[in-house]
Amino acid sequence: MTDDPQSRIDSTVKTNDVVLFMKGTPLFPQCGFSSRAVSILEHLGVEYASIDVLQDQGVRQGIKEYSDWPTIPQLYVKGEFVGGSDIMMEMYESGELAQLLQDQGVVTAQ
């Protein structure tokens, strides 16, 4: 394991089916946008890994470069960047997010 944030992010994203980079933890989100992202994943009943960027400055900056996306939270499914909380909400409401998880073979409670 290297200390380089880009390698650590890449390895996290590739070894977990669903990963949420967020501020805080699912139990104690530290930002409204992260809280909304957690609620969506909980509603879908999907298992996910969560990374608290507030615990790691390297990852906090590095994740923005990794995805070329300026904000947190960020959702990844099977190694692909899906979007931030606004895109997650749109995709959740339209059913696209559930469909994407299903298409990718990720188990949900629904």
Binding site: P70, T71, F81, G83, I87, E90
Partner: protein, 77 residues
């Protein structure tokens, strides 16, 4: 220093000239906004790319001075 709603709208329109931009000040504090950006140039491109164009228009302010911008992008109906 927070950004004024008008400033956000001006920057988006400068980069995406045909954009219809609606800004809502969510908390009334000049710091928590929602923006809806509608542009023909978004047609056929993924949402992530649509939102990247808006973030690019804001020239790196997103995630910095602009913390809370709820963003929705769409094509004209």
């Amino acid at each position: 220093m927070p950004m004024a709603a008008k400033e956000i709208e001006t920057m988006i329109k400068a980069a995406i000239p045909d954009a219809q931009v609606e800004i809502t000040d969510l908390a009334g504090d000049g710091d928590h906004y929602a923006a809806r950006v509608v542009s023909e140039t978004f047609r056929g491109i993924p949402r992530v790319q649509q939102q990247r164009r808006v973030y690019d228009a804001l020239g790196g302010r997103m995630g910095g001075v602009l913390h809370a911008l709820q963003l929705t992008t769409a094509c004209p109906q």
